[in-house]
């Protein structure tokens, strides 16, 4: 699993205009082959809803009324705020996902902070820190 995650991390750190197909393939393969079962026994928070498979690394903080899954990987020390919904996505370590962000088929880079609220996103890579919806839409890399 670690090897594949590293490969994805490397790919999203140097995205090119024609990386779309490669990203979708890497995401699909990772989710299909490494997330057959859930690992959800170690989160900090108050009873979110999980549709398996969901894999949480250590020290993931989850807010109220969160729906995770299916096919979600969340790296260590990441924080998922209230009312968030995530499916078919990878969130790398130390990321923050702001309140009421709805996300499908996305990859969020290490240390990224999406501090905006009430934002739906799909089919994209986001690496960086944003505080508004507009900034988030500006920096996202759509791959579909």
């Amino acid at each position: 699993m670690k090897k594949e995650l590293k490969e994805i991390e490397k790919t999203i750190s140097s995205l090119e205009l024609n990386s779309q197909t490669q990203i979708q393939e890497l995401l699909n393969i990772f989710l299909k082959t490494h997330l057959k079962r859930s690992k959800i026994d170690n989160f900090i928070g108050d009873y979110p809803t999980f549709i398996e498979p969901v894999h949480l690394e250590e020290n993931v903080k989850i807010g109220d009324d969160v729906l995770l899954g299916p096919n979600v990987f969340i790296g260590k020390n990441s924080e998922i705020k209230n009312y968030v919904e995530i499916s078919n996505s990878i969130i790398f370590d130390n990321a923050i996902i702001g309140e009421n962000i709805k996300m499908d088929n996305c990859i969020i880079g290490k240390n990224s902070s999406l501090s905006c609220k009430n934002t739906p996103i799909d089919n994209c890579v986001v690496v960086g820190n944003v505080k508004t919806k507009e900034d988030l839409y500006k920096i996202m890399y759509k791959f579909k």
């Binding site: 959800i40 108050d46 009873y47 979110p48 549709i51 299916p70």
Partner: protein, 238 residues
């Protein structure tokens, strides 16, 4: 009272109870509730069409904790898993206990842990189906969270609904839960192997179910001994 606690109470008021809502938000709460119900119904219809178009039969099972929903599914799976390619979606507040039990009978499972929600809704089922190749299945069961109240609020888009009760819950259990029996196709009364010992009035239970819903088929079974499981499979047209 802490700020967090106040926020929590406000949130529950908004989302869950019209009676608790203060006058200024009452209309908003009612409109929101109507919209949510409408959206669930629409999505349930979409799910049913999608499953039908793919030639998949679908059945959901509701009932209280310990009524025997999982045991019944295990017995059914045992008997028909060679004939059908089966997916079972299991709802529980937490744990994967039920999915693990059913999976041993050669069927695929997906566990949904609802956390604080007391029933599955159509969106949960929609999300699961979206991530599956429907060509892989001919039959889908949904085992709802153990509860005889909340599931009546949410249709899931299945062809048939079974409500399971057991004689250990007492002969008044059906009389006290009219909604689920009104919207179910089959009522299963389980644990009849204990009938002699408990002396539960089984006739009253059957009569109550029929009173609420004259079209409901009532089947008395024992998931433990396997008695009348064949009758249930027949009633499900499997």
């Amino acid at each position: 009272m802490s700020e967090k606690r106040k926020q929590e109470i406000h949130r529950i008021k908004e989302l869950e109870s019209i009676n608790l809502a203060t006058e200024d938000i009452r209309e908003f709460v009612i409109e929101t509730k109507k919209e949510v119900e409408k959206d669930n119904e629409l999505l349930a219809n979409q799910i049913n069409n999608k499953l039908k178009n793919n030639g998949i039969k679908s059945i959901d099972i509701v009932g209280a904790i310990g009524a025997g929903k999982t045991a019944i599914l295990e017995k059914i799976a045992e008997k028909i898993s060679e004939k059908y390619r089966i997916l079972v979606i299991c709802g529980d507040i937490t744990t994967r206990v039920d999915a693990d039990r059913i999976e041993k009978h050669n069927v695929d499972t997906v566990q949904i842990n609802t956390g604080r929600e007391c029933a599955l809704n159509a969106y949960h089922i929609h999300q699961v189906l979206k991530s599956k190749d429907l060509n892989d299945y001919d039959l889908i069961f949904v085992e709802n969270v153990g509860n005889l109240i909340c599931p009546s609020e949410f249709k899931l888009g299945t062809d048939k609904r079974i409500t399971v009760v057991s004689i250990t819950e007492g002969e008044w259990v059906i009389e006290k839960h009219p909604m689920l029996f009104k919207m179910s196709d089959i009522a299963v009364i389980n644990k009849i192997d204990l009938l002699e010992r408990l002396g539960t009035n089984l006739d009253k239970m059957v009569k109550d179910a029929k009173n609420f819903n004259p079209n409901i088929e009532v089947i008395t079974i024992s998931a433990k001994t396997g008695k009348n499981i064949d009758l249930l499979i027949e009633a499900l047209e499997l």
